[in-house]
Amino acid sequence: MIELHDITIRSGPFALTNVNLSIPENTYAVLMGGTGQGKTTILEAICGLRTVASGRVLLNGSDMTRWKPGDRGVGYVPQDLALFPMMTVRGHLEFALRVRHCSAAMIKERVAELAHVLGIESLLARRVTNLSGGESQRVALGRALSFRPRVLLMDEPLNALDEATRDRLCELLRSVQKQTGLTTLHVTHSRVEARNLAEKLFVLESGQLREQPLTQLNPLSTENAKT
């Protein structure tokens, strides 16, 4: 469960004030909004990479506003993925588990499981610098899921992918969420993605974050009205 209560974030001239958000357990939520509206900022506030000026961040009911990023247990897939250039794919999947001092056997089992689910078994020994866009996305997703996080945050994870890869990954995201029951917040500006995945829809516009009915995404509503 992800809850934001009256969050205010300031960074230079940019400010988001009184943002409220509530995503129930086991829900796939999609956050939409134009460029520069602060969608990424909200994700960063949830995972603790950005300090909030006021308000509270609750994950699964615990107030984590002042917690360090590493203590929150948030799986985060940033927009630029930020893979670790000097590590192999296996290294990415192992990292969070090594940080948690898991046993070698447990790490091995978890990596095998993740690699199977994400379809990246053949890539495990490879360095990440020359993976394709879709492969990189899978690695970033695997890294975020590896330690069984409380919630999953993804920042435009399907951007810059060709349509076929995008569809496959959409399918993967949906099945992963079904399997894990993970509360997920997915930022995108693609209506197609939102329509495929969203169980709840939030829109950030002119500093206002509002929940919108899923019917908003209906091809017959706004999109068609625009064209």
Partner: protein, 303 residues
């Protein structure tokens, strides 16, 4: 549309706009202003001439050195025990000061690159002081620092009494004088290195549950290794060229605090021009070897 006779050959306009273009008319029908961009030769002559003059100067200097000396001079200089001892001290002191510089410059460069805090500009300015200050002044400042009365003692005496190490006019002074300047250059290099490494990966590492220290050691540092090699080399090369601070702070005692730059000075001052040039060329060779190693290592990383 059809192509009218009288239009230039070899061009086949496919659209009305193309046809206008061929006739020297803009799409709106008004005549185009005739213009040819002209030759780029003057550009390369002027730029290449100005830039090349510097390259030429370096080549000319080295060539003159080479023409002045001979293998006999070289052998004679290298057989002198003072010079052998100076080579030894130079290699050891440069390596120690370069390693010390990296040890200090890596954390400092990282902190300055990753965090903005009140007073950072002041630290930035302070670090650059050794770069812009006359080298002699650094030597003098070190000398003063170690002999400024602290109550009834001074830093030099504390070092001697507590650690049994003599600093001023001894080998440690050579290393410290080299380090004071070399480290400033190493910090600049490390800072740029970390500036070029995306901090995002370290942030993600922290969301995965690790502390800053681990993100630094496992994510940032491995990516910085080319910068570390570069900084190490720059620090080594700066240390090799250091002269003023060593002269003031460590002195120029033969067989004791004489490094190669001091040798050049000492040989020159007693009129031994041949030996001075031979040693100079030795330093040129050492510098070129170091630069070559860096290029080689750098190229390997890219591949």
């Amino acid at each position: 549309m059809t192509i009218k006779p009288g239009e230039p050959e070899g061009v086949s306009p496919r659209t009305a706009t193309d046809a206008m273009e061929v006739r020297g008319l803009t799409p709106s029908g008004s005549p185009r202003i005739a213009h040819r961009a002209g030759s780029d030769v003057p550009f390369f002559v002027v730029m290449g001439g100005l830039g090349g003059s510097f390259v030429l100067l370096i080549v000319a200097m080295l060539a003159a050195d080479l023409a002045f000396t001979s293998p006999q001079h070289f052998a004679a200089a290298l057989s002198k025990p003072e010079i052998q001892r100076a080579i030894q001290l130079t290699l050891v002191s440069c390596s120690i000061s370069a390693l010390l510089s990296i040890w200090v410059a890596t954390p400092l460069g990282y902190l300055l690159s990753r965090f903005s805090f009140r007073g950072r500009w002041l630290i930035d300015t302070l670090i650059d002081i050794p770069v812009v200050l006359p080298p002699l002044v650094i030597g003098l400042s070190l000398l003063i620092l170690f002999h400024l009365p602290l109550g009834d003692t001074n830093l030099e005496r504390i070092m001697q009494e507590s650690f049994g190490v003599r600093v001023t006019y001894a080998e440690p002074a050579v290393v410290l004088a080299q380090f004071s300047v070399a480290c400033a250059f190493a910090v600049q290099t490390m800072r740029v290195t970390f500036d070029q490494i995306d901090a995002r990966a370290e942030q993600v590492a922290m969301t995965l549950g690790c502390r800053r220290s681990r993100a630094f050691l496992e994510i940032a540092l491995p990516q910085a290794w080319r910068g570390i090699v570069a900084a190490l080399t720059i620090a080594w090369a700066r240390s090799l060229g250091e002269f003023g601070p060593i002269l003031v702070f460590a002195g120029a005692t033969r067989m004791r605090t004489e490094v190669l730059s001091t040798t050049v000075f000492l040989e020159l001052s007693v009129g031994q021009l041949e030996a001075a040039v031979a040693v100079s060329l030795l330093m040129v060779l050492a510098a070129m070897a170091v630069l070559g190693v860096v290029r080689l290592v750098g190229a390997k990383v890219v591949r």
